[in-house]
Structure formats: C-alpha cells, structure tokens
C-alpha cells in the first residue's frame, strides 16, 4: 500500500511486501481491515475494479452459454475433481510424457525445496538475469527474493507485478495484482526506480515499462513461468496471458523453469477446451486470453529458438494436505479470481492485503487455514457473510461457503474459538430449542437494546425505533463503525398475528 492521506488526514507508513504476505502469526485481520476502512480511495479502487469484472463475467458467461452455464461449470468441476481423485496416476502420466518430450522434471515437497531446485538449476547453467512471468506458486515460495539473494537479478514482467515489485509491495488480487494502486503510484515508482520522466498517462507509462523490459528480455539467460494447466497425456504446459510476457519469458532465455502446483493437472488436451472457455470469461470477461501458449518440451534439434533446457518443478507445499477428501474440491480452483470480485467482504476490506497471505478473498479464506494452520489464520473463515456469491461465481463449482462453515466448526471443535464465545453460542442454542426461552430471551434483549437507543424517535407505530450509537460490552466493537437500529416496541411477529383473522382453537 502506498502512503496516501487517509480520511483522518494522517499519513500511514506503507507495509512492505514481505510483511503483507507473511505477517506475524496468529494473524489478526482486524488491524488491516481497519486500516483499509480509513482509506477511502483504496476502497473505491477495489470496489469499482471488482464491480466491473463481476458484471462483465456474468454478461459474457450468460451470452456464451445461456442456460447451459451451470451445467458447464459442473462439468469443469467434475473433470478437475476426477484428475484430483486420481492425482497419483495423472502425475505419473504427466511426468512420463514430459520426460519423453525432453523436459527435466523435479518434485518439490515444500517452498524451501522449490527454491533450492530453482537456484541449483540457475547456478548449474550459470544464469545471471531472470525474466519471470506471473506465477502464484512463486509468491508462495517467495522465489524472487531467494534468487536476488543469490545474486540473480530477477524481473517480474507482468506489468502489474513489475510495479508491485518496484514498490516492494505485494499483489492484492490473483489476476490484477495492483488493483490497490493508481496511476500516480506508477508514475512515482517509474521516476524513482527507472529514472523516467514523470507522466500520469497510462499509455506512456506502459511504453516506459515496455522499453525497460525489452532490454531485459533480450539479455536474460533464465526464464521462469508458472502454468495454468498441465496436460497429463502430452506432458504440456499451458500458460495464459494477455501481455505476451510469458511467451517472451519462456522463449527468449536459454533456460526455462516452470514452477507449477500439482493441482494444475488435467487429463487430456480436449479437457482444455472446457477450461479455456471458462477461465478468461470468469477472470476478465474475455472469451479467451490474448495468448494461450501450449509448450511441450524444450527446443528440438533443428529448431532455431526457444530454451535449450526446460525444467518443470512440480510443487506440493501444502497441497497434499488439501487433497484430503473433505477439502479436495478446493484444489479444483483455476485461480480466475471471480470469487474475489464477487465477495462483499473482499471489497470492504480494501482487497487482498487484508487476508495476510498469498491467496486472498473467499478462496484464500478457505485454503490458507488448511495450508498454513487454522490456529494461525482463524480470522479468515470468520471473514465471510456466507452470502454464497463466491459459490455462484466459481467456474469449477467449488462450494466455498460450505468449506468456510466446515472450518468454523473446526474452530469450535478444536477449541480455537474462545471460551466466552463458545458459552454464548451454547446458551443461544439452548434458548432456541424451546419457544418460551426464545421469546423470553428475545424480549429481554429487546428491552435492553431499546434502553440504549438514542436520538430522535421514529414515531411511525410499526417502525417505532431509535439508534444505538455505542453498544454495550461485545457490541461496542460492532457499533464503532456503524449505528445499530433498536428493535421496535412490538415484534413483527405479534403485529402480523394481530392482522390475521382469529385462528381456530388448538393452533400452536
């Protein structure tokens, strides 16, 4: 987050990338959410950017698939689920095919091993300059700082990631990493880091970046990419971008390393049709990304260009933990970001940084606690209204709200949820069991809340209410940011009953 005046007129020091993605644990979401709540401009960026993508996705999916849309995303989910259900078999099939195509296949059990492999490959080939395209796995492993520490200059070539890198910031969205920054932040970064002339024109800013990066592409001896899909039957990597930076990163240097999570496997080339039709529509409301690149092995004998060496690093780093039956569906995720754009909480907390981890939004709230420990990220499953917008938006039909509820159950079962909260919930459950206890409890609460009410009274006999500006006890935190309306004098239920004709005797 760049420093900018907040609503209170204060300057806050921006958090650094490392701090944002790897906060001190256990992570408390409230601090960052509050910080964002004060930053009106930030919330406006995130709100408008997500809203545009949210509407765009609905329109393009509807116009392409019409009534079939729901069945198509169920099919996509079923194909991915099938690949996960037989992941051992498909992993071997992919490995055999990729090796036959001439790739060197590595297996990384965790982030440290993944980085170690990349460094060893870079050093083996004497690489000094690396061009890198967007990859969420490399964010997980913090690969770029590791390469830089080993003296290998590494450049993020996706425009958004490049700017994030210049500012030592962290991506705040899976697809559009600088959703939280505006053009003045870009202009300042280019003046400071590239010695460019100050301009706020997005066209000219983009051309400055292009010129800078072209020289790097020409000189680079190492290219690092991720992959959107791995095709088991052919050993191919499939990479989708709009800028063309992945194609240049993969084709220009003499060594190409692809770092890919093992959940990216799909069985056949034809399955790709299903996913390509959904991915770009869900991510950016495009029918397909500008470049869809299918890479199978390194340069062959007789070919003039392309990498001499292709290394594919298949990464676990917590995925086999998610593979257990109850969470397996979460690995179907194709990282389109549609659930982020749809989520009212993601919008209100100022985007991805509030989630304190690489994956943000609803999908992040569901996978981070499993991958990095529920105790460390207990706030994330709570950060949802369970409205279901993410489930509706998901192109591979992941029931994210159900997963969040499951995690909340686990919070209680493992007693991570505090004693007080558990007791309140237990009392609430008991009260809801019987009609009279419920009515007595609700009546008492009604009186207490009405007594706290302040301000002008609405005299309307039905709505007759005031506002609570400062709640009591645990309610105080809630009323810090908003006013709570008091309940009416008479419950709606009683009013409704009085409007109905007299009921026959014996009705409960």
């Amino acid at each position: 987050m760049s420093a900018r005046p907040t609503a209170a007129g204060l300057e806050e020091a921006p958090l650094k990338g490392e701090e944002i993605l790897s906060p001190r644990l256990p992570y408390h979401m409230a601090d960052r959410a509050e910080r964002a709540a004060r930053d009106v401009q930030l919330r406006q960026f995130v709100e408008s950017a997500s809203e545009i993508k949210f509407r765009g996705r609905i329109d393009t999916c509807r116009s392409a698939f019409g009534d079939r849309y729901d069945a198509v995303r169920r099919l996509a989910g079923a194909v991915k689920q099938h690949a996960l259900d037989h992941l051992d078999g498909y992993l071997q099939r992919f490995t055999d095919a990729a090796v036959a195509a001439g790739a060197v296949v590595h297996f990384a059990l965790d982030a440290a091993e993944a980085n170690r492999i990349c460094l060893a490959v870079a050093q083996e080939h004497g690489c000094r300059l690396c061009v890198k395209s967007k990859s969420m796995v490399t964010e997980e492993t913090r690969l770029v700082p590791a390469l830089e520490a080993a003296g290998i200059e590494t450049l993020e070539t996706d425009l958004g990631e490049f700017i994030v890198q210049l500012d030592d910031d962290a991506p705040s969205h899976i697809v559009t990493p600088m959703i939280h920054k505006d053009r003045t932040a870009v202009a300042r970064a280019f003046v400071r880091e590239l010695g460019a002339e100050y301009t706020e024109d997005p066209q000219r800013l983009t051309m400055i970046a292009r010129a800078h990066m072209r020289e790097k592409f020409r000189a680079a001896d190492l290219g690092i990419s991720g992959a959107n899909f791995l095709i088991a039957e052919t050993g191919s990597l499939v990479v989708c971008t709009n800028e063309g930076n992945a194609d240049l990163s993969m084709a220009a240097p003499r060594v190409h390393i692809a770092l890919v999570g093992i959940e990216k496997l799909v069985p056949r080339m034809q399955d790709l049709a299903v996913f390509l039709k959904l991915l770009a529509r869900s991510a950016t409301a495009q029918p397909i990304t500008v470049y869809t690149s299918i890479v199978t092995g390194p340069r062959k004998a007789g070919e003039h260009d392309g990498p001499e060496h292709l290394h594919i690093v298949l990464v676990d780093n917590g995925r086999t933990e998610l593979l257990r039956e109850e969470t397996r569906e979460l690995l179907r995720c194709i990282r389109c970001g549609a659930c982020l754009n749809a989520c009212p909480v993601y919008r209100k907390v100022g985007g991805g940084h509030a989630y304190g981890a690489v994956y943000s939004g609803p999908i992040g709230a569901a996978i981070t606690p499993v991958m990095k420990g529920l105790g460390a990220y207990a706030d994330l499953p709570r950060a949802s209204s369970l409205c279901g917008a993410c489930f509706q938006a998901c192109p591979v039909h992941i029931d994210i709200p159900a997963q969040l509820v499951r995690l909340r159950n686990e919070l209680v079962r493992r007693r991570i949820e505090g004693w007080g909260k558990r007791m309140v919930m237990r009392a609430w459950t008991a009260a809801l069991r019987r009609r009279w206890t419920y009515r007595a409890g609700a009546g008492l609460l009604r009186q207490v809340m009405r007594a706290r009410g302040a301000g002008p009274r609405v005299v309307d006999p039905i709505r007759d209410r005031r506002w609570i500006e400062r709640g009591l006890g645990p309610l105080r935190a809630w009323t810090k940011e908003r006013d709570l309306p008091t309940p009416t004098r008479r419950p709606f239920r009683d009013w409704w009953a009085a409007q109905l004709p007299k009921k026959p005797e014996g009705r409960r």
Binding site: A49, I52, A71, V72, L75, H82, H86, L87, D88, G89, L91, T95, V99, A100, A101, G102, V104, V105, H106, F107, L109, T157, L159, I163, M178, L205, T206, M207, R214, F217, R218, T234, S236, N242, E243, G244, D247, L248, A251, A252, M269, L272, A273, V274, K277, P287, I288, T289, V290, Y291, T292, S293, I294, V295, K300, D305, G306, H309, D316, L323
Partner: protein
C-alpha cells in the same frame, strides 16, 4: 539434453503423500475421465459460416482481418507493411508461396528483411518492425490464430515485433476450440493461440495495447 526425473526421492515421497490423502492403491491407472459433452461445451456448430464468423470474432479481439486470393497475397502484405510504416520485417517461414509473397511484399514496401535465423535466439524478432508468420489454423469461436514453432518457424516472430501479420494459406478454420484441441494429439514444442494484440489493463483498468507483444495483429485469409 534429454528428459529425466531429477529427484526420484522427492517424487516417491510426494506420491506417498498423495496416496495417503486419497487412500488409493499404488499403481492403479485412472479410469476414463468424464466425457466432455459436446452439447454443453460446443459454442460454434460445424455448419456455421466459418470465415465470416472468424472475421467477426477476430475483429472483436482487435485483429484486422484481410481476405484475398493467393495471387493477391503479395500486394495485400505490401499494403499492410506500408500502412504500418514497417521499415524491417522478420520472417521464419518454410519455403513456398507464403515465403515468396512475404519477401516480394517486403521489397515492394521498401522494408528490409531480417531472417529469424540471421541472429541467435529471438534477436531478429526483437529488431524488426513487423513479423510475418504462416498460421497453422484459425479458430472461429474465439477469433484466434494458431502459430506453431518447428524447425522452419520461430517462437519470436509473432510476439516480439510491434506488428504481427499472420497468413492462413487455404482452408484451416476450426469451428470450436474443442475441434482444434481434439486434433492436437502430438503437439509441437510450442503452439500459441493468438487472440488479438498484446493487452494490459493493469493501470486503473484502462486498456492499453502493445505492452510486450505487438500493438497490431493482421490476419490474411487467402482463398
């Protein structure tokens, strides 16, 4: 360098973890994957007027589509090069009609020809103002041009120069992505579906073309 598994120990451990999570028995081959139901997934019928549909969708993507006879190809290419003000052209084409037309057109438009093979790696493509490729196919559904790399074609020509001109000689239009991908049994080392000029909207969501790849893409369909 030939392919191999670099660290079988970690491979074994990863497979063990996977099987522990799945409860699967070692070595069971996966059963048939779910059927990709055409009724659901297909967006363009094989009976659709493919050239017209492709032209429309490609135009939506920001690609300029030209149609001409084989005899007019040289003239059409020269026209595009002049309009784009290209002073140099990079090509990586197999010998034949398209290569001849491209060379002739470059001469007509006064553009220098830089053969991809004249510089190491993508060097030639980075220098040129325009690149001419012969497309493997076009896909009507998505308005995409398919370019491949092999011993005669390069990986840089379609992406490094500011202008990319793809020629599709004769028929080669697939209705749906599904139709194209089903033919792809043994893919070449690199195969790219190009669906427009290079784009970004990273700065405040404002669409800019020509960020890393070309700012303009032309497709010439010859009859």
């Amino acid at each position: 360098m030939s392919g191999r598994i670099a660290n079988p120990d970690s491979q074994g451990e990863m497979l063990r973890r996977i099987r522990a999570a799945l409860g699967a028995r070692a070595g069971d081959p996966p059963p048939a994957a779910p059927l990709v139901d055409e009724e659901l997934v297909r967006l363009v019928s094989p009976e659709a007027p493919l050239a017209a549909l492709f032209s429309r969708r490609a135009a939506d993507n920001g690609i300029r589509v030209h149609r001409c006879s084989a005899a007019q190809l040289r003239e059409t290419l020269a026209g595009i090069l002049r309009d784009e003000g290209a002073c140099s052209v990079c090509t990586a084409l197999p010998a034949g009609a398209v290569a001849d037309a491209a060379l002739g057109a470059a001469g007509d438009a006064g553009a220098a020809v830089i053969a991809a093979r004249s510089r190491p790696g993508l060097g030639a493509a980075f220098e040129a103002d325009a690149g001419i490729t012969d497309a493997e196919a076009v896909i009507a559904e998505t308005g995409s041009v398919v370019v491949r790399s092999d011993s005669e074609r390069g990986r840089g020509v379609f992406v490094a120069p500011p202008v990319h001109i793809a020629v599709l000689p004769g028929a080669g239009a697939f209705p749906d992505l599904l139709d194209f991908l089903r033919t792809l049994r043994s893919p070449p080392t690199s195969l790219v579906l190009v669906s427009g000029p290079s784009k970004t909207a990273d700065i405040e969501g404002i669409l800019i073309t020509g960020v890393h790849g070309p700012r303009a893409v032309h497709v010439v369909l010859t009859e």
